[in-house]
Symmetry: C2
Subunit: 234 residues, 2 copies
DNA sequence: AAGTGGTCTAGACCACATG
DNA sequence: ATGTGGTCTAGACCACTTT
């Protein structure tokens, strides 16, 4: 366990534990340095991590303060993984519609940087929160990087499987978001009337070494999809 | 100018200048250290900045690589300011619908953490890209923090005015995003048929010292609103 | 084994905010 | 003036990847 990561976790835990509210001032840098017995640089790095995560904000010359918590039920858009964590207070379930191995279309192959003839898993799922349709999701995984998937695995959180079983290190992702009118087949799957709005998110996930491995399109039911984005300036 | 910031800018410029494509490897840490004549820590901080910004990614034991550029015309959702920069290749204009000083509603006062009786500017604008309606925007600015606004100022980029004229230091923001069916009045302003989809973004902006100063709701025309989100893991 | 990125330290010095 | 956060350094050591 990295030192700065551990310190960051302990500080975050302390905030949640004591239920410190927005604007509450934390102990000064020097106090935290003695408390956790690390160098200044390490402590600063821990704080930077928490700042990026939206847990605190730092004001030069003044102090370190607790930042507001996001509204419950909102899905954080910047975290890499699925929303398993964001909706932990809700009942999540998944229905698998399709799972097969195929040779990708030219467009998919290009996005995923596939070699000619390389195969991918194609997955189509419906995800529910509290028995309401949250979204339909179509994903392509490069078989080269994700060699095995089955119906059982993809009925749960795929990303947990990737990181914990396959020990895949996820690096970063690009997401494109837009709103449009649902197509008839989409509306039906989302249990919405024809011509309802839909929220479309295209994502491309990369491993830590920069290889794209998952291209997916998710279409959200607008009634149950609320997103949250925290931005910083630094 | 901070040293790490300057180094970061120079590296970013070099990438853009030489039009290095995704996956191109940059010189090694040690080479960059000698090239820019800074300590390792400073160089690493510069690289971290660029990594957060989505310009590069670093792979331990391997190298530093150029990350893919976002598609043109997409609006980055994590930068704090408006989209002036994202749409610099497009013709942007603004029509002011309303500008007045008022005593905020209980809800607005709560979000902005206003003292009793404190006044706010209320602004309503329509923004156009290439002569198409991009969005309608309603904002509340705390007069205490933004003491003066006029029609001319808000016809341009308000955030440029805040940072460059008022020297306001913007800290961070919370954004909430959802899709819904437009109300009749909204559809009319956006020049869309009744019952069209709309993309709603609520934002709360804070100064660097943690004071909320701007609460706004923006409703985007789904035909011209494409958003981009880059995520990292670190 | 060699090279590359990543963590950590102790300490000097700078910039900003508050009393 | 003091205290607070922020930058910067030189250098030791660690972890991962490549050859």
């Amino acid at each position: 366990m990295l030192k700065y990561q551990e310190v960051a976790d302990r500080i975050e835990l302390a905030i949640k534990d004591k239920k410190l509210s927005q604007g509450t001032r934390l102990p000064s840098l020097n106090e935290l340095i003695s408390k956790y017995d690390v160098s200044k640089t390490t402590l600063v790095k821990a704080l930077t991590t928490l700042e990026d995560k939206g847990v605190i904000y730092q004001v030069q010359g003044s102090g370190i303060f607790v930042r507001r918590q996001k509204r419950d039920g909102y899905i954080a858009l910047m975290t890499n993984m699925g929303f398993t964590k964001d909706l932990e207070n809700n009942k999540l379930s998944t229905k698998v519609i399709d799972l097969k191995i195929e040779t990708p279309s030219a467009e998919v192959a290009r996005e995923l940087n596939c070699a000619p003839g390389e195969e991918v898993y194609f997955i189509k799922r419906i995800r529910y929160v509290d028995n309401n349709v949250l979204c339909i999701e179509q994903s392509y995984f490069r078989k080269k990087i994700v060699p095995y998937l089955n119906k059982e695995i993809i009925s749960e959180s795929i990303f947990n499987y990737l990181t914990e079983v396959l020990k895949l290190k996820i690096g970063f992702s690009d997401k494109y978001l837009r709103t449009d009118i649902l197509k008839k087949t989409e509306a039906k799957l989302l249990e919405l009337p024809n011509n309802s709005p839909g929220l479309y998110i295209d994502e491309l996930f990369y491993t830590a070494s920069g290889e794209p491995f998952d291209l997916s399109q998710t279409i959200y039911n607008y009634k149950h999809a609320n997103f949250f984005i925290q931005s910083g300036q630094k």
